[in-house]
Structures are given as structure tokens and as C-alpha cells.
Symmetry: C2
DNA sequence: CGGTCGCTTGAATACCGTCAATTGTAGTGG
DNA sequence: CCACTACAATTGACGGTATTCAAGCGACCG
């Protein structure tokens, strides 16, 4: 059901024996893809080290807290939730990851994972081991630049997420969340206004610092106001303009900049 | 009204012709200092490019939103507040920076600053222009590693800050904030339990997603409970143990790990 | 068909935000 | 040095919003 890119390029393997191609094609779709813009020679090198097309089924962990980290991961399709566990056992949701996005940066500072990464649906990902990556960076100026560029953008992106999550009232947080999901989907050219959330209400709530019930109430209220239609995990945005107004036009701009 | 950097930078040259020394000394105190662990040769090189001992007086801007960014900055003493402005004109506080901490990472991806950085008190900082930094990284494997290490740790650090700011109730947010300040001070061996906040109540409130009044009420309540004494900006923590319990012991551990 | 799980809805409560008044503090000039 | 001013912080009362607890609904699955 959710296997966008794979399907679209199912006839990829024949194009190249090295198998770098699939990644190249992906790069056209994913602006922040790691090897984007690399010279062909280095691209080959890079491609020979990553482990591509791995599959994780819903509910499986990509990695656990405490586990030593040796790789970066990039999502090809599906979605991942990252979270820490408090001593009382409840989840503190850190974020959600969509196709084209990287996670597991702590591998770059050789620290163990400090959180869990869980597949919210069937998810295809690439694993990029850091030790060959480090070796490659010795030779490849452009790879080094690209990596630093990506990490840096991640920092500014997190900053913007912070602006969402810290909004005062529940309404604007939930609105901003929906706009964010919609914008991030637009990156890989999926429908902007009709989509299925892969996480449940509790996850959204934990992420936004609210309760499940409040998130639910906001959604039904938005529906009553004609801003969207919601049926379980399916969302249809009917009036994006108005939704942006709810979350604050400036917040929308921040989010928009983060995606472009 | 707020004119940026300008200011003094007077008697630097006499200590050393290369001027690396002051930075080296700092490195002993600041574990995350950029050139930490560099071979002497490269350290010299590095030191010759940074602009050290710049002074910013209270209320002055280190940089403005929109301004093009060409340097990283590291605090030597004092403190900096970073914030964005919403369209309604109110501040969205992103964070506070203390000695040993780096800011302005967007320079590494050659994007303009998307926020303001303001000195909360008289602040000494170093400016590290990125173009020589990039050139140096071509030759210096260890510098490259160190930079990536620092940026990566910044991401995990931000994640932990997120756990603070997203706590449900005001009490635990304020408590976590105080513990955080205290721990970050401990890095440069300042008093853990008696200190002066450099930001006002409104700044703290905006940072935590609360109001000034709520922050104030939490502080006086903590005082009534005997956890601390507060007089204007001066805080004396009387019972750190209990304070950590208020913010949730696991959050405290997260913060602690971020500092060490 | 009954059971589980995720989601919604309702009512009561607790908490935080708002507004307004007061006190306190720092900075300025007499 | 003190008085004055401007601004920061505190405090109180009130109303609104989110949480809590509990019940009800509906989809999915055995």
C-alpha cells in the first residue's frame, strides 16, 4: 500500500550493475539526500557502501536506546517515530521521519542511541555505515560539504519544530502539525490535502505536549469549522489557507522555508 | 535601535604573536571547544583565523535575522539569547547560550540567519569565519571530525531541550529549566547552587512556552516549599535533589548526559 | 458474535492565561 | 545621596482552556 518510490522504479536494477542508480533516482526526489551532487566516481564509491532497500515492518524497531550506533539511516518510504522512555514508562515522542529524511546522527559522534526508532508502517530505508563514510570523506570534499550541510539544516529545522511545539494553545499546535505533515509530504509530490496519518492520536499528542483527547477534540472542531474532514487516520484538508491562519502565518512561513 | 557587532576588541595582540594560546586555555575549560585535540601545527593554523576576544555589551545584537552568515560564534563569557520575531511582533525565544557553546551553525550551509542573537549581558565571544574553516578542513582530518562531532552533539542536545520544553505542567518545566542552567554553569566550574539569571522572566517564559506570571508563580511556590531562594534574578538552590524530582528524574538524567 | 483497541465524547476539575493592581529594582539626574 | 522614573517582578481575582476520568462508539479480527 505505501511503497511509492519502489513501485515507480521497479525496473531499476537493469540500468546499472553497481546498483547506485536507485539512489541517484531517489536524489532527484529527495533534495536533502546525502550523495546529492556528488561526482560520478565518488557516487559509485558511496553507493557500494550503503545498504539499500531494507524493509522494516510496522511495529519493528530500527534501533533501540542504549544500542551502539554505527550507521545513519535514510527513509525511502513509510515513516518512523523516535521516542525516549521516561522512568514511569511513558513515551516522550521526539519526532517523525518521512522519506528523504535522515536519522541516527549520533552515530557520527560515536555515541550510543539515546532513543528508540520505531516503524509506524512498512518502511523501506537505507543504512549508511559511518566508518566507510568517514573514509570517503577523507577523499571527497563534496561529500563532506554535503554532510555538514545536511546536519546544519537539521539543526535549523529542529529549531522551527520547536516553534510549533511551544505554541501556547492546542489549536495552533495541532494546526501547525497538520500543515507540517502536509508540507513534508509535498516534498515527494504526494497529495497535499488528502493523506493518511501513520501515527495514532497518542503519538501526536505526546509529540505536541498535549493529551490524546485534546488532539481529538481539536480535529473534530476543525471539522465542524469546515477546515478539514477527518475519519480515523485519514485527513482531508479543505481550507489550507484558514488552517495556516490558525497556526499563525509566520509559523507557516517557517515551516515552508524548512521544506523548500 | 539595536546596532550589531561594532564594539571593542582592544589589547589582544601582546600575549602571543600567533594568539592561539588564549584559545587553548579555553579548550581546557570548554570540552566542546572547536579546536580541542588538534595537533599543534593545525592549532596554530586555526588560531590564526579566528577573531578572538570580541566584546558585546548588553542589549547589542551578535547578528540579525536576514543577515548573511559567514561565521560561527563561540561564547567565552556572558550569555546570548536567540529568538525569532512573529508577525505580531512578539519574540519566540529559541535558546540561551553560555560559555563554551557554539551558535550560528547556519553559516555552515551558507544560509542567512533566520533568527536574532542578542547579548543578555556583557559578553565575550570568538568569531570563526567559515571559509578558512572549510579550507582548513581540507587538510585536517581531526578538525573535520571535531566539527562533525560538535554539530552532531548539538542535535542530540536540542532533542533533550525538547523534552524539557514539552513537559506538560509549568512546574516541571521551570524546575527543569533551573536544573539545566545549573548544570551548564557547572561546565565551567561556577557555583552550582547560587547564580544570577541573565535573562528576565519574560524570556524564560517565552522559552518554555509559558507566561511571565506563571514562571514567577512557580518560582515563589518553589521558594515556599523550601526548594530555593529567589530574589529578582538571583537564585539559590537549596534542595537540588527535590528540584530534580519535580522535573522528573529521567529528565534530569537527560540533561546531565547532555552536559558531560 | 463478542472482544479488543483506537478514537471520540461528556462532565468535572485543576491549571494556566489574562487583566489589573501593587511592589520592587535598577538606572538617571537633580 | 536621594528622589524620581521606568521597567521588572509579584500577587490576586477571574475566566477560559486543557487535563482527567469515565463512558460510549466503531472498526477490525478472531
Amino acid at each position: 500500500m505505501h511503497s511509492p518510490i519502489v513501485v515507480a522504479h521497479s525496473n531499476v536494477a537493469r540500468e546499472s550493475s553497481l546498483g547506485v542508480d536507485t539512489h541517484c533516482i531517489a536524489c532527484k526526489l529527495y533534495p536533502m539526500c546525502l550523495p546529492r551532487g556528488l561526482p560520478d566516481k565518488e557516487l559509485e564509491d558511496f553507493g557500494s557502501h550503503i545498504r539499500r532497500r531494507r524493509i522494516l515492518h510496522r511495529g519493528r524497531m530500527l534501533y533501540h536506546a542504549g544500542q551502539s550506533s554505527k550507521s545513519l539511516y535514510t527513509i525511502r518510504s513509510g515513516s518512523i517515530k523516535t521516542f525516549a522512555l521516561s522512568s514511569e514508562g511513558d513515551e516522550m515522542v521526539e519526532g517523525f521521519y518521512y522519506p528523504g529524511e535522515l536519522l541516527g546522527f549520533e552515530a557520527l559522534s560515536s555515541e550510543p542511541h539515546d532513543h528508540f526508532a520505531l516503524a509506524l508502517e512498512t518502511t523501506e530505508y537505507c543504512e549508511i555505515p559511518v566508518s566507510p563514510l568517514n573514509r570517503l570523506m577523507l577523499r571527497s570534499e563534496s561529500l563532506r560539504r554535503q554532510l555538514i550541510h545536511i546536519i546544519t539544516r537539521r539543526i535549523t529545522g529542529d529549531r522551527r519544530q520547536g516553534y510549533i511545539r511551544n505554541r501556547r494553545d492546542a489549536r495552533s499546535r495541532v494546526a501547525a502539525y497538520l500543515v507540517d505533515v502536509s508540507l513534508r509530504r509535498s516534498r515527494w509530490r504526494k497529495s497535499l490535502d488528502h493523506f493518511q496519518l501513520s501515527m495514532d492520536r497518542r503519538d501526536i499528542a505526546e509529540y505536541l505536549g498535549l493529551t490524546m483527547e485534546t488532539v481529538s477534540r481539536c480535529l473534530t472542531q476543525f471539522q465542524r469549522e469546515g477546515l478539514l474532514r477527518v475519519k480515523a487516520k485519514w485527513i482531508r484538508l479543505l481550507n489550507q489557507q484558514a488552517l495556516r491562519a490558525v497556526c499563525g502565518s509566520d509559523v507557516w512561513e517557517e515551516l515552508h522555508r524548512a521544506v523548500v
